[in-house]
């Protein structure tokens, strides 16, 4: 996603946090040396810092974790005891059989977990979720209010609102979007395609993208780009977040994990002006055109049972009520003790309106990739919609044949 790598000496930052804020120490003293690898955004920073309070713990935070985690945890013994995952990266670890079922450990140490946190696959608990994330609508309530525009609930309404905002000249670009070629753009397509009721697969893992829903999804994405910064194909979540903070855009579908940053007085010029709402629907009567993601922890399979037990205990300390209370606005937590603030409204409303969870699987990973790499030619006008969708299917078929998913 980002080239930027975030390595953080967690022990150090934990020391700093402990001196700065009131944080109770870990309930027990951990004697087993443990390592974890996870993504590096704020929520993970908080969790890793809480885990390190137990001692003997080294938390590696790396936004590129997904490229090294599969190999590192496939090794025997695994190089990490705790693996931070999201719903899509769990697929890789499960496929390699490098994470262990947690039912026994949950029974022993995880009685306080809410059932919602237990990721069950085929009846077995494979991961403990800690937060959900989704892209949803964020908008400048002051601008929409002055122009007398209701917060849009559909993409058609969002485009109308954008036209009015553009005419008023209140911001540089009415809409912002995470349209960076690659993963970000792929995610936009998947959200929109599902929003139009599209199905990804037919018989035997064959891709079925070249259809009416596909064309509508592409056309809607292109219509949005008319109101965006012309450099949208390089714009990732951080860029959109900054555009908001600097008052350059008025609306965007952005990750819930970025919502807190809008009111960060150190960075934002628009404190209190950005409001959250459910992701707009793509078609009348449809569900919000977004997908629900979760992040959570797994325990490696290739480590001795006693280490796994220690790792699970430490992980539970990282995901406890105290951590959530101290970092309430860093994420939409699933952990007890969380009080949903205004920043969580978008994700909550999207979920309440029936937004589907992201359909993670081996085959779907490939759809995501081919969408991310093929859409740019359509958006810049080099290809028409039908050709683009046909090319996506063809690229998918090549990749799937090479990977053995299609015979």
């Amino acid at each position: 996603m980002q080239m930027k790598k975030l390595f953080l000496a967690v022990a150090l930052s934990a020391g700093m946090m402990a001196s700065g804020s009131v944080m109770a120490a870990c309930a027990f003293k951990n004697e087993v040396p443990l390592k974890s690898l996870s993504a590096g955004f704020d929520a993970w920073k908080a969790v890793a810092a809480a885990m390190s309070e137990c001692g003997n713990f080294e938390g590696e935070l790396d936004q590129e974790y997904k490229t090294k985690q599969p190999e590192a945890m496939k090794a025997n013994p695994s190089l990490y005891h705790i693996g931070g995952v999201s719903n899509s990266t769990l697929v890789t670890l499960m496929g390699d059989n490098s994470v262990r079922p947690l039912d026994d450990l949950v029974a022993k140490y995880g009685q306080h977990l809410s059932p919602n946190q237990l990721i069950k696959i085929d009846g077995k608990i494979m991961a403990i979720a800690m937060m959900v994330n989704a892209q949803h609508l964020m908008y400048r309530s002051d601008i929409l209010g002055e122009l007398g525009i209701e917060p849009p609930t559909s993409y058609a309404a969002m485009l109308e609102a954008a036209a009015k905002i553009k005419a008023s000249g209140k911001v540089d670009y009415p809409i912002g979007g995470t349209f960076k070629t690659g993963w970000n753009l792929g995610e936009e397509f998947i959200n929109m395609y599902m929003g139009f009721g599209g199905e990804f697969f037919g018989e035997g893992n064959a891709a079925t993208l070249n259809n009416a829903a596909g064309v509508k999804a592409l056309e809607m994405l292109k219509a949005m780009t008319e109101y965006m910064d012309p450099e949208y194909l390089t714009s990732d979540s951080t860029y959109v977040q900054q555009q908001f903070q600097q008052g350059k855009i008025a609306m965007a579908n952005l990750w819930a994990s970025r919502a807190g940053a809008m009111d960060d007085e150190k960075e934002s010029k628009v404190v209190g002006k950005v409001k959250m709402a459910a992701a707009p629907v793509a078609m009348e009567g449809g569900k919000p055109a977004t997908t629900l993601w979760w992040d959570g922890v797994t325990i490696a399979a290739n480590i001795p049972d006693d280490q796994a037990e220690a790792a699970f205990k430490v992980a539970m300390e990282g995901l406890d009520e105290e951590m959530v209370k101290a970092n309430n606005d860093d994420a939409v937590w699933l952990i007890k003790g969380y009080t949903p603030g205004p920043a969580a409204k978008g994700a909550a409303d999207s979920a309440a309106a029936g937004a589907p969870s992201y359909p993670a699987s081996k085959a779907h990973g490939m759809i995501h990739t081919v969408a991310g790499s093929n859409l740019a030619d359509y958006l810049t006008g080099k290809k028409d919609a039908a050709t683009t969708l046909a090319d996506m299917e063809a690229d998918y078929t090549k990749a799937a044949k090479e990977a053995g998913l299609i015979k």
């Binding site: 919602n116 810049t380 990977a403």
Partner: protein
């Protein structure tokens, strides 16, 4: 030299070359003809993921890797001939595009798009690097002795900067409302988006590469100029040769072996252009062959990567470099046989 002594000296480096150059090459070559894949089975199972208040449990049918007795996924490898090369080159579509006369469609296929950029990039920057390098060398060679040291130092700076960092710095100067873009906008009184279309990004890339590599050419040429026979130069002056004629008939022939050396190195380096793509995040508009290989090797969220196509693309990149170098190598070989040096 005795044969034994010769072997003792050369042996270690030959061993290293076999181990670290030949062996990986052979391995990549073999992989480009094979598909290595897990064995999949179709499984229907219940998957429970967090909702906002209540958990969502769904029946899902998906392909799952089959595990072997040792708990690891079963993997099989089979020979597929030229399939990966066919997938990469997509010749069917190329012929189709030629048939209907829409040449630009060829450039929407990744490989050809990458090849187009890689070649233009290599061939356009080559003369620029040579010219700028030569001009710098001649200019500094004529500068006052007392200030040469500091000038050489400053001229070399761009070459010292790590390529990715250099590319990123230029990107930050121009992206969005970067300092340079803001200045240009004020000067030209219009909205400028350098990263919104291919040609502006390419322009920045050419500029960056010449800025980065010209000091290398300069330092080589400058060293060469120090060995220039002053008598020849002076007799040329006595003969009434103008400044330009001196460069044309004395300097350039003297530096020719070095010019060929710099050209060789530059062609090899440029054909592997990669930092610029990453640094300028230009994937949407411009990609290179090396980046294509990297992209095939990068795992997606679900851990898939295309090793076979990456190997094929790496082999094709190598073949491309060899083809590009042949004219220069032939020239060096001819000079060598004539016993010039």
């Amino acid at each position: 030299m005795k044969f034994k002594t010769f072997v003792a000296f050369v042996g270690p480096s030959i061993l290293m070359m076999l181990l670290f150059i030949a062996a990986p090459l052979v391995s990549v070559f073999i992989q480009s003809f094979h598909h290595t894949q897990p064995v999949y089975e179709t499984v229907t199972r219940e998957v429970c993921t967090p909702g906002f208040i209540k958990q969502i449990c769904q029946e899902e049918t998906s392909s799952q890797p089959v595990l072997g007795a040792d708990g690891k996924p079963l993997v099989e490898t089979h020979y597929v001939g030229l399939q990966s090369y066919r997938d990469l080159l997509d010749m069917d579509r190329v012929w189709q595009a030629i048939d209907v006369g829409r040449w630009s469609e060829i450039l929407t296929i990744d490989f050809w798009k990458a090849l187009r950029f890689t070649l233009t990039f290599t061939l356009l920057t080559l003369p620029l690097v040579l010219l700028v390098g030569l001009a710098l060398a001649v200019a500094i060679n004529n500068a006052l002795k007392s200030i040469r040291g500091p000038i050489i130092f400053i001229t070399l700076l761009p070459f010292i900067i790590t390529p990715v960092i250099g590319a990123l710095s230029i990107r930050w100067l121009f992206i969005g409302d970067g300092i340079m873009t803001a200045m240009l906008e004020q000067w030209l009184q219009q909205d400028i988006a350098m990263f919104a279309q291919a040609w502006t990004i390419e322009l920045l890339m050419y500029f960056y590469r010449v800025w980065h590599v010209a000091p290398f050419a300069f330092v080589i040429f400058y060293a060469g100029l120090q060995t220039l026979n002053q008598d020849t130069l002076e007799s040329a002056i006595v003969d009434g040769a103008s400044r330009w004629e001196r460069v044309r008939y004395v300097l350039v022939p003297h530096l020719m072996p070095l010019i060929i050396f710099v050209a060789l190195i530059h062609l090899m380096d440029c054909y592997r252009v990669f930092e610029e793509i990453v640094g300028f995040s230009s994937q949407a508009h411009v990609i290179s062959l090396q980046w294509l290989t990297y992209d095939f090797l990068t795992p997606d969220d679900a851990g898939n990567r295309s090793i076979a196509r990456a190997s094929a693309s790496a082999m094709l990149t190598m073949i491309g470099i060899v083809l590009l170098l042949i004219p220069l190598l032939r020239r060096t070989w001819r000079d060598h046989k004539r016993g010039g040096h």
